[in-house]
């Protein structure tokens, strides 16, 4: 079997007006960033419900980035301040779940900052590569012996039933 190197899967939510354009600019300027990032365009970073982040993690993402306009420059005036507060709330909750802090990142990147965004992506991929896979769904996998124990119980009861009948 060929040896495979670990490639982190990172989900990124980018706002339409700044950060997604920054990603576009990075592309048209031929700046390189790793392909580990899966981008989802949203109208505003304020649209990113914490549930989106939790869903990404529960589906197996190794990290999540939220990117938006710089504070004070939001296309919708002040929604990214909401993002900022939500992000702190989310971060402290995820720390409570025992997740490493570097797996979640809030990045401000204006439409002119293709380089900033590309660098942030490179940094995050490096951080997560160092942390290793997260495999969150593996946290709740069934106990390996459970099925056997349940079937044994059923069998044991079936014997009793034979007598009872």
């Amino acid at each position: 079997m060929a040896e495979t190197t670990y490639e982190p899967k990172i989900v990124a939510f980018l706002c339409n007006w700044c950060s997604y354009r920054a990603a576009d600019l990075a592309g048209t300027s031929r700046m390189k960033y790793p392909a580990n990032i899966r981008m989802v365009r949203v109208m505003c970073s304020g649209r990113v419900d914490p549930a989106f982040v939790l869903r990404a993690i529960s589906k197996g993402a190794d990290g999540v980035m939220i990117a938006g306009c710089h504070p004070g420059e939001c296309h919708y005036q002040e929604q990214n301040y909401k993002t900022m507060r939500r992000f702190e709330m989310l971060k402290q909750t995820l720390l409570g779940f025992g997740m490493e802090e570097k797996r979640i990142r809030l990045q401000w990147a204006s439409a002119a900052e293709g380089g900033v965004l590309a660098q942030a992506i490179r940094d995050m991929v490096d951080d997560i590569r160092a942390l290793g896979p997260m495999n969150w769904p593996g946290n709740w996998a069934p106990d390996p012996d459970a099925e056997e124990a349940i079937l044994a119980l059923a069998e044991e009861h079936a014997e009793v039933m034979e007598v009872a009948r």
Binding site: A51, G60, M89, D145, A149, M161
Partner: protein, 330 residues
Amino acid sequence: MTEKGKLALYWAASCGGCEIAVLGINEKILDVAEAFDIVMWPVAVDAKVKDIEMMDDGSIDVCLFNGAIRTSEQEYMARLMRQKSKVLVAFGSCAVDGGIPALANLSDREAIFETVYGHNPSLDNPEGTRPQTETVTEDGTLHLPIFYNTVRTLAQTVDVDYFLPGCPPEPERIWDAVLAIVKGELPVVGSVIGANTTVCDSCSRTRSEKKISGFKRTWEVIPDPDICLLEQGLVCCGIATRDGCGALCPTVGSPCIGCYGANEGVDDFGARMMSALASVLDSDDPEEIARIIAEGIPDTVGNFYRFSLAGSELRRSALHVSERQPAETV
């Protein structure tokens, strides 16, 4: 006289309050007994597992199943009740979302055993005995169920037809459900029997869209009787919580703790709480925000997932990476 239907109640990982709550419908319990033969009700009826096992599949009309799934024996019973029942109802918050027992998902089996059988102050266990799933004795082998690492909801274990949340469900909601069953007016399979509005909708306190500068713990403040508790800085979960209680707690000055679980359309109770609290907080400085949260909500997970951890997106806290099972295809 038409034949009576068959009703069963079962009790898995829960306190038993749900079984008692059924008696909250008072004398109407006689009407229930008139419509149904009660074939199982651990707190009140002397029925054995054997009696259920001997019944034909699908011969129980309705099973109200309370409690989360924590052991292999509970999973066996969940499967048995599913097999024998036409309609299986997840009854109460533990069955619906994990409830209080699921807060143990912030720990794991080893840590729980270590505390319970190793370090409890009242403990006398010099040999450090731990429960074993198999013990060989002279008279044969004894078995104990497997204690799972992760508490699960009923629906994460077997197919569930209806959900009746609450800790415990209010008598009025139980009666509504009984009536719906008797009249055959049950909603679409998979739905919650109850309200799809929030606790805030029933709360008579005045909201003024006011921002707050910090959160207060309940012991720090005597709340004003007329103003929204959240706007007084208390972490009231009414905004995310399904109604069903008529805002009992906020009405008497105690913040909602979310026992009815997430309202319709809310995927993750905690996520909704995070969003809502972030919206009322009056600060634009990341460091200040972090400080306000750390001081006011020291236990974020406990506050946001008090009754819904097992049913949430993340279900539990992180195990050590090496203990996680290989991921299924995701």
